[in-house]
């Protein structure tokens, strides 16, 4: 596994870890903002390109592995990380100019950004449940540090809350991980093998179902905290609202997915043992609870970033619900929905970040008539919210439609609850959108120095997916859906 000297001949799977890791080191040392932001973008782009290479060539599983499931997450994560880094460059320039961040903190910020990328990629490709746990913990810690970076009263409260709840979640997940090892040990023997994904999934049939049942409950609660599912979501709105907006975008678009990936892996493990409790109902319950709860919470929000954080809870609920239902169609829809949500939600946060900078506030009551005062941003937000609300013709309409219709065929009652939650959320979002985007502008109307490319790239992708899904993508997602069982 020694990294060859020549950078181009680097194995892609090593590269997606090595590039962020090295650039984090560089960025920690680089003083200038301008060059650091450029380097951040370049490193993210290089990581993304390497991740694309993984599509074609799968390395043999060792400490790291790539299969049909995690490649979806890796490509999505590196892509959103790349576009977010481009957004971050212009966002951070404004923060520096307005004095909210000092150059020293910026250095820290950029280094942490790449460390987060490293941790997330490691969590996704790690072929070991212990290593995956360590990586997710690292990702949590870096985001905690970044949420608290403004060091205001609220930011510290949010970071503290996130740290405490995240640690409890992480601790529960570790206990679950230990239990999985205990369950696997009689079959696979002591040592590494009993923690390696590839051997675990091969030999799962012989594991003790009772132990795995208990393990899954711990894992579901532990990683579920990180996904932001309903009873355990309390950290999520604060962390999204108080941290820098690029971090909100990465949190919603990527970190929640990574935690969900962990849940999915363990779900697959459990599902391969017929005598164990089916993992589906637990996921369905938590997912539905998140959807309905978050939908109602959307109404009374007064902070624009908190509002979209609740919307993230709602959508992670939908995705968890879909995967909990299982079956080829629901899994396909869940995967599509997750992808669309990542793209749309990060696009919304790109718009919201610049809006909050232009207006000098995040309070919904002080933002009015955006389409008049800032037409490009305003309309971007409008399209984004229409997408996130699940209206046609954008991508999320299709995935939500698939989830709802496949549920109606199998469990009509659940589908009714789901549709109810979706409609409530739609109403709440439209209500707020109407106030924010239209009418007479109030407050500052000065133009914003913004980069529109990441925002509109994401929106274009979501629109394209809604209108026409390329056949190879459909085939790819279908094969993953079959894998998920």
């Amino acid at each position: 596994m020694s990294a060859p000297l020549h950078a181009l001949s680097l194995e892609p799977i090593i590269a997606i870890l090595l590039v962020p890791c090295l650039s984090a080191l560089f960025l920690a040392l680089l003083p200038g903002y301008w060059i650091a932001a450029r380097l951040n973008v370049t490193a993210s782009l290089v990581t993304f390109l390497y991740a694309l290479q993984l599509l074609g060539q799968r390395p043999a599983p060792g400490y790291l592995f790539v299969d049909d499931l995690n490649i979806v997450f890796v490509v999505l994560a590196t892509f959103v990380a790349f576009t977010t880094s481009a957004f971050s460059a212009s966002y951070i320039a404004h923060e520096l100019a307005s004095g909210r961040l000092t150059p020293r903190y910026l250095r820290f910020y950029h280094a942490m950004y790449q460390t987060l990328m490293f941790a997330m990629n490691l969590a996704l490709v790690a072929n070991n449940i212990g290593l995956m746990w360590v990586a997710i913990e690292l990702a949590t810690l870096t985001t905690v540090a970044m949420v608290g970076i403004y060091r205001t009263h609220e930011a510290l409260e949010a970071a503290w809350k996130y740290f405490i709840l995240g640690s409890v979640g992480i601790a529960l997940a570790l206990f679950g991980t230990i239990l999985v090892y205990m369950a696997a040990r009689p079959v696979l023997g002591e040592g590494q093998d009993a923690m390696v994904w590839t051997t675990l999934s091969e030999k799962a049939a012989g594991f003790s179902p009772e132990l795995l049942n208990v393990a899954f409950i711990f894992l579901m609660l532990g990683y579920g905290t990180k996904v932001g599912l309903a009873p355990l979501h309390a950290w999520l709105p604060d962390a999204h609202a108080e941290g820098p907006t690029p971090i909100s975008a990465v949190l919603s678009g990527l970190l929640l997915n990574v935690a969900l990936y962990a849940v999915l892996r363990f779900k697959m493990l459990l599902a391969s043992i017929p005598t164990a409790i089916p993992p589906g109902p637990l996921m369905v319950t938590m997912g539905l609870a998140s959807v309905v709860f978050a939908a109602f919470m959307l109404f009374r929000r007064r902070d624009i970033k908190r509002m979209f954080a609740y919307s993230s809870i709602e959508h992670m609920g939908i995705v968890t619900f879909a995967f909990g239902m299982g079956g080829a169609l629901a899994n396909f829809a869940g995967l599509l929905h997750m992808t669309m949500h990542s793209l749309t939600k990060s696009a919304i946060f790109f718009a919201v970040g610049h809006i909050a900078q232009g207006k000098g506030t995040q309070r919904l009551g002080q933002i009015r008539g955006l389409t008049e005062s800032h037409p490009v941003l305003g309309w971007g937000l409008v399209v984004g919210v229409i997408a996130i609300a699940g209206l046609p013709p954008l991508g999320m309409f299709m995935s939500e439609f698939l989830i709802v219709s496949s549920t109606f065929a199998r469990a009509p009652l659940l589908a009714v609850i789901l549709v109810f939650g979706l409609l409530v959320a739609l109403a709440a979002l439209m209500l707020h959108l109407n106030e924010v985007a239209f009418g007479t502008p109030i407050g500052k109307t000065a133009p914003v120095q913004a980069s529109y490319v990441p925002l509109y790239t994401h929106l274009a992708l979501v629109l394209t997916a809604g209108v026409y899904l390329p056949q190879p993508l459909v085939a790819w997602f279908q094969s993953v859906a079959r894998l998920l069982g």
Partner: protein, 221 residues
């Protein structure tokens, strides 16, 4: 020898649960830190004993970390923080001591039932009981984090929870990455908790009481 090994492991792990209970009813900051040092000492002994009976030398590393870092350095550091911030007064609790203890007993009962039921014949009795004790310690740590408002006692709660996890990990015979995980935890505790948060919270509010942090979240009318 087998019975002997089992008894000592049982005693140490059971002692850890007992000390967890002691943590629950402490109402003075310094006493809390002292009891936590005892907790870490107990863990260190327990892990060292596991290392001895499993003949797994690498497990002495977590034992050593528990002994030096958690039993000595962190309590001393937290003590200094407490003195510096002038908060060596009574700890404010959300729930009274009586109900907390009852809840704790309930949690221990729950973890016994769950773990002993779940680990049937497939697991040897030693690691089986170890896991049950470990889960009790984890749940008691969580309970402590819930019933205390104060940041330092929440950190202590978190660290006691983490001790439970280390106990579980060392009890699971032959588990890889235990050393790495215990180091990761040690780094986590040392850096984030003591360094960043307390200093920052101190800097801004002159208080580590979480109630003071709880007032505003950008949504007040």
């Amino acid at each position: 020898m087998r019975g002997h090994a089992y008894d000592v492991a049982h005693m140490l792990a059971g002692g850890l649960v007992l000390v967890s209970f002691m943590l629950l009813y402490q109402d003075r900051m310094f006493a809390l830190l002292n009891i936590f040092a005892l907790h870490a000492l107990m863990l260190s002994g327990s892990v060292a004993w596991q290392a001895y009976i499993q003949d797994a030398r690498h497990l002495y590393v977590p034992a050593l970390i528990a002994l030096t870092l958690k039993a000595i350095i962190i309590p001393v550091a937290l003590r200094r923080v407490v003195i510096k911030l002038g908060i060596h007064r009574t700890i404010e609790t959300v729930v009274g001591v009586g109900p907390t203890m009852l809840a704790g007993i309930g949690l221990v009962g729950l973890s016994m039932v769950v773990m002993l039921k779940a680990t049937g014949a497939s697991v040897d009795p030693l690691s089986r009981e170890d896991l049950a004790f470990a889960l009790s310690v984890v749940l008691l740590g969580m309970l402590m984090m819930v019933v205390r408002r104060n940041a330092v006692s929440q950190i202590v709660g978190f660290m006691s929870m983490e001790n439970g996890l280390i106990l579980a990990a060392t009890g699971a015979k032959g588990m890889p990455l235990v050393v790495e995980i215990s180091i990761a935890f040690a780094v986590l505790v040392a850096f984030i908790v003591v360094g960043v948060f307390l200093l920052r919270i101190r800097e801004r509010f002159d208080s580590v009481d979480l109630q003071a942090l709880d007032s505003f979240r950008g949504e007040r009318r």
